[in-house]
Symmetry: C2
Subunit: 414 residues, 2 copies
Amino acid sequence: MTEQLNRDLLQRWDQEDELAGFREQFHLPDNLIYMNGNSLGVMPRQALARAQDVVGREWGNDLIRSWNINHWIDLPQRLGNKIARLVGADEGEVIVCDSTSVNLFKLAAAAVRMQPGRSKIISEPGNFPTDLYVLQGVEQFSDGRVQLHTVEREQLFDAIDEDTAVVVLTHVHYKSGSMFDMAALTARAHEKGALILWDLSHSTGAVPVDLNGVGADFAIGCGYKYLNGGPGAPAFLFVARRHQATLQQPLSGWFGHANPFAMRDDYEPAPGIERTLCGTTSVIGASVLEVGVDLMVAADMTKVRAKSVKMGELFIALVEQRLQGLGFTLVSSKDSAQRGSQVSLRHEQGYAIMQALIARGVIGDFRAPDILRFGFTPLYLRYVDIWDAVEVLADIMARGEWQSSEYQVRTKVT
Amino acid sequence: MTEQLNRDLLQRWDQEDELAGFREQFHLPDNLIYMNGNSLGVMPRQALARAQDVVGREWGNDLIRSWNINHWIDLPQRLGNKIARLVGADEGEVIVCDSTSVNLFKLAAAAVRMQPGRSKIISEPGNFPTDLYVLQGVEQFSDGRVQLHTVEREQLFDAIDEDTAVVVLTHVHYKSGSMFDMAALTARAHEKGALILWDLSHSTGAVPVDLNGVGADFAIGCGYKYLNGGPGAPAFLFVARRHQATLQQPLSGWFGHANPFAMRDDYEPAPGIERTLCGTTSVIGASVLEVGVDLMVAADMTKVRAKSVKMGELFIALVEQRLQGLGFTLVSSKDSAQRGSQVSLRHEQGYAIMQALIARGVIGDFRAPDILRFGFTPLYLRYVDIWDAVEVLADIMARGEWQSSEYQVRTKVT
């Protein structure tokens, strides 16, 4: 970033921004700069109307008939097919259901079952906690047949071997924002006969993903971050077509049956991606999620990525200019090709500084023990917002606001 | 039911009904008699406002801060403690999360793990399909350590033996409405050293349940039937306090961790019921569910049950009077003590008859191959509604309306 940065320049960037029109599709509270869309995306304006419609009309008036007349029965597939377009998957390869954690359990357990002679699940230490916890659950319930091995990312490539059943990695790291080379690691896994499962929670809607382009086997992802699906929105999962006919997943509930309403005693998995479903669709959550997905599908992911990269570079440049010598270090890679849509800083007073920032209306978040995270969501964040956020941060540091006792006590859960 | 039944008499019953006031708390579409609350409960009027509030204010305005200021973090426990009062459980023994199917997997797998020397899971044929399917999943992923045995209910008592790890039964049968003697079967399971897991999907909010009174080990239940929580509402589960410290469930996601936001690599289960949580709470669905739960908690379950029984007896008496010789047989028990809050009829033209009924505004449902189900929801159904429903049914039979070709083709999914 070589240009002389100032607020006027950034206003011009915003005026010239081809994605600027999306901002008015979102509800952005006054006096707030929201840099936490990597944790919980903001509310699309239409989401409120959609919530009213699914609750008041579809449930309230149409009641049980909505399974047919309002197409509740197809909701997981319909949404899945939309998300497929964001991650380089084909029709019938993605479906919306349950939570990211539950979906990881289904696919990790299924992957292990597809590899009867292999005993290793490989992941990395410091992966998003639920990924490691769920894999520990898969390990424990395998009664010793598979073991989870966590390998530092520098050694990952070499650690994937002929005994590896499945590699489970998060494409963009939740804390550092570091991004794996999905193509290289997928190729490596396949070279060794291993399967690979990508967690796209911090990728989908933020960085281009081409699951079929790289030949990925499985993926999971989150509905409430960059897809702006609402708090606790249903998640999604991907199974490459070539695996669908043989995939056996343990959570074999009735919505995964070939003919759920035949109400037979014996489970017979649906022929396609539907076999990964378990219980009844959370209709309200999925309906609200669809609004966010529709907005993301309407955006050009190439432009989203270009703006995201420019925002990240701008933030790093401003931090370097304005926060020199104040104890901040850059955690994320300076190389945009290795960074998702967030920048993380380390500071030993990270918790207190983030509380002070939030009190001033700049919402990022904190991840223990010392990480401040700032997410860039090109559909609703402006370049001037980044300028203003760094100004506030510099001011907090200059005034020592973070030293206030109210920011020191850790009362927040997230 | 010995009184001479007529519509005037039933209007008097409605006037004298102590639960009548609850009806106005629900949105009941015009010209509809809804006897399908056992499948999807109707919308409480406040549910629409609650949906608007959680979406528009809590998500839209407060965003990520809602985990703290709007208490999203405690939602599973808060709702669980309310539902506990409906099922005879104590504070900290019930929690709201995921779907009924997912929760069954967690607890059935955990129960099997608590019984290392025992190889049988016992259930009954014709149990609700998802229960059998999920248990088949537990069986399959145990690699031969446990097998599912389905035993006809007459032989169940004797089938529970020293090799039984866990008995999994649905308290009120989804199709017939038959109700198990929960106390007797729980005692029998314990006598043989087995654990017991009750599916309360068709019980909670419909019939009194006393989990701790009978000494039950585990239970699961549904949010969208008699709790009126909305389509695909989150489900709940119960773990008796005595089992909580040792319970290991396979879906060990981050919300089940002792300290989720410490973001450590190793899973450490939360000390209490929270260890059954997996992924992020579906906040919108759970918030809407709370409205239905609050209404049910406000009702006296003894009165709910008394009205439910009276409605069931009324329906059976009217069917006997008005539908003699038309091919209907009663599937549900005539003994109210053995029946939940629904009455099922068998008719070889059941599908077409139900379609004709629905077309005339009487909503029951059909379960293959030949069952018509009629649910009684004392909080919003009137005695005159039952009179009117049977009148319509008799009229449909007299006119042969069900023979219309449009009702013969099976296009409906549910």
